[in-house]
């Protein structure tokens, strides 16, 4: 190469600078395109991150949940709950599971002295704290002897404790739930997640803070609940095993209900994958939208470059006369085009990141910028310059020296 790359780039920047206003107008499309790439990617990334956090906070990717499938019809009138006997059968069929828990849900009034409030009640086994990765951080959680003896004990949700006891220590106190006297043995750890664009609540985990936990046996024997278990939660050894175990569980439960899909078996890992898939779709759709603006930007660049070639015909003639090869001319114009779009890309990235940082915060939307997006945006902008610069550059390099020198 007779003329070095760094030199061509320098010439490109010079050209950009001599025609500042035109160059700036030219790159608007590229700026908008790269800016939207940054904004979209960081939104999707933020969504993914939020999803993963949600999953982790609710028991992680190894969790499998078996619960009532509300969409299923039940023409055979099969039981819509599990019996303890069935639960034990299922448990024995999946020895590979790390933890196994069964839960009965209820909603009751909880009273202490003159205070009372409504709480979501969970009757459960001791594995609850392992499966949900959530336990008492004051006092203690339910132990197996509480279950064996159907003890009248309760672990309060954080908000329930606040509403009944305020700042007082509730441990050892007695609360009344449906005529049963229950001793408070602990308070569940406070759960919180920053909401992402959720206008209804500040904390999507508040329902957990309104949940109180009692032994499943107490729930069945003392609260007039039948032997009717709502939900099974299982923890596999790894997210990969969770997917295998989920299939196995599906078969078992299918068989228990004569082939009717009365229950849903869901693995958190699969859910996360599904959410990420839809996030990826979202990403692709928006990528197409931003490519439209990049396409328009590219056409504008091509147009301006063609005008520039026309304008600089004589210059091309002079350069050819003093020894520039056609490739030198081609490269000069191509690099100019790439420099223009690269500058557009840089401005786009800067504005995109600022939008993400400030507007994202203002709208309470979670976003995440990482270096890979910035590389993608810059790469795309350079690509647009390359692609749309080729035709004008070819045109410049194909000029005949004599005609170019004569051009007025």
């Amino acid at each position: 190469m007779a003329i070095s790359l760094s030199e061509s780039i320098q010439v490109g920047f010079q050209d950009f600078w001599t025609r500042k206003l035109r160059s700036l107008v030219t790159i608007l499309g590229i700026i908008l395109g790269t800016m939207s790439i940054i904004v979209i990617l960081s939104l999707v990334n933020g969504m993914n991150q939020q999803t993963m956090k949600w999953m982790t906070e609710r028991g992680g990717l190894t969790k499998i949940t078996v619960s009532r499938n509300w969409e299923a019809k039940n023409p055979l009138n099969l039981p819509e709950f599990f019996t303890l006997k069935e639960v034990n059968l299922i448990k024995n069929l999946i020895p590979e599971a790390d933890y196994f828990n069964a839960t009965i849900y209820n909603r009751s009034q909880v009273k202490f002295a003159s205070n009372n409030t409504f709480s979501r009640m969970v009757g459960t086994f001791t594995d609850f704290e392992k499966v949900e990765e959530w336990t008492a951080d004051r006092g203690r959680f339910i132990k197996s002897f509480d279950i064996d003896e159907s003890n009248n004990v309760i672990v309060l949700g954080n908000t329930i404790k606040e509403e009944l006891f305020g700042s007082k220590n509730p441990i050892g106190k007695t609360v009344t739930v449906e005529n049963q006297q229950l001793t408070v043995i602990g308070v569940m750890k406070y759960r919180f997640m920053e909401s992402s664009g959720n206008i209804f609540t500040d904390n999507p985990f508040e329902y957990m803070n309104r949940t109180s936990v009692i032994p499943i046996s107490t729930m069945i024997n003392k609260f007039g609940q039948k032997d009717a278990i709502d939900e099974l939660t299982i923890k596999a050894k790894s997210p990969e095993e969770a997917i295998v175990l989920k299939e196995k569980l599906e078969d078992i439960i299918f068989n228990l209900r004569r082939g009717q899909a009365i229950f849903n078996v869901e693995s958190a890992k699969e859910e996360a994958e599904k959410m990420q898939e839809s996030a990826a779709m979202f990403k692709i759709i928006f990528f197409f939208i931003s490519s439209i603006s990049l396409l328009v930007g590219g056409i504008v660049i091509m147009n301006i470059m063609l005008a520039s070639v026309q304008e600089r015909t004589r210059e091309i003639g002079i350069r050819l006369a003093v020894g520039a090869r056609r490739f030198d001319i081609f490269l000069q114009f191509l690099i100019q085009s790439v420099v223009i779009t690269f500058i557009g890309g840089v401005i786009g990235v800067i504005t995109g990141v600022s939008i993400v940082k400030y507007v994202g915060k203002f709208l309470n939307v979670s976003t995440m910028v990482d270096m890979s997006m910035i590389y993608i945006a810059l790469l795309v902008s350079v690509g647009v310059g390359l692609i749309f610069g080729i035709f004008p550059s070819l045109r410049a390099s194909n000029l005949n020296p004599v005609d170019a020198l004569r051009y007025e």
Partner: protein
């Protein structure tokens, strides 16, 4: 005899639609190394066509052109670009400097295309401009200079790669008489330094400073095609 330029029966035909225009009918010229030759002729006589072919900006339709003992008429476009860069220096009537570059960068241009390192180029170019009395104007744009100064810059650009021939196309045509004679003095000096100069002009007085004059008419060389 060592001819730096030797053409054999060069023809140039332009196809304008269905009409063929014979711009150059049969040119046989020989120019020795170190000669100062002027080319004269009325407009339309083929002067410019001949200049373009001699300057490797254009190729003949037929015939052979030996430049510095190389047959260049069938060279590829890249090879011709290299010839223009290394062996030919152009001086134009309208100077043809790049308006957005300072004069130093303008003079460096042929060095750049010759692949000479950036650091070295500035030194060579500024030394040469210094010799031509423009050492204090290196960073001026051509538009800030007088016509005579601009043509000196153009001459510097033409000779910077020590070309085999210097082609000047009416180099004083756009200058006042004082600047014009200054430029002619430079050409005379270049001639004394054994440079080969070919100058197109229509001014017989200017033609007189040349060793000989080639006269063209209607696309044919009618006089002075070989040195006497």
């Amino acid at each position: 005899m060592n001819y730096v330029i030797k053409t054999e029966d060069i023809k140039k035909v332009y196809h304008m639609g269905s009409v063929d225009v014979h711009a150059l009918k049969s040119a046989n010229i020989q120019i020795e190394s170190g000669e100062f030759v002027s080319i004269m002729g009325p407009s339309g006589s083929g002067k410019s066509t001949l200049m373009h072919i001699l300057g490797c900006l254009d190729s003949p339709s037929s015939g052979q052109y030996f430049l510095d003992n190389e047959e260049v008429s069938q060279f590829s476009k890249n090879k011709l670009a290299w010839i223009r860069n290394i062996k030919i220096g152009f001086v134009f009537q309208t100077f043809n400097l790049l308006p957005h570059l300072n004069i130093l960068k303008n003079v460096e241009l042929p060095l750049m295309y010759a692949g000479i390192h950036a650091g070295k180029r500035g030194k060579i170019a500024s030394d040469l401009l210094d010799r031509l009395g423009l050492g204090d104007r290196l960073h001026h744009k051509p538009s800030e200079l007088s016509g005579g100064q601009r043509q000196r810059v153009a001459i510097a650009r033409a000779v910077i790669n020590n070309p085999a021939i210097i082609l000047a196309d009416e180099p004083t045509g756009n200058l006042d008489s004082q600047s014009g004679s200054d430029i002619l003095t430079i050409f005379k000096e270049l001639h004394q330094e054994k440079n080969t100069i070919i100058m197109v002009t229509h001014d017989p007085h200017i033609a007189k400073i040349a060793d000989r004059t080639i006269t063209l008419k209607d696309g044919e060389v009618i006089n002075g095609h070989i040195s006497q």
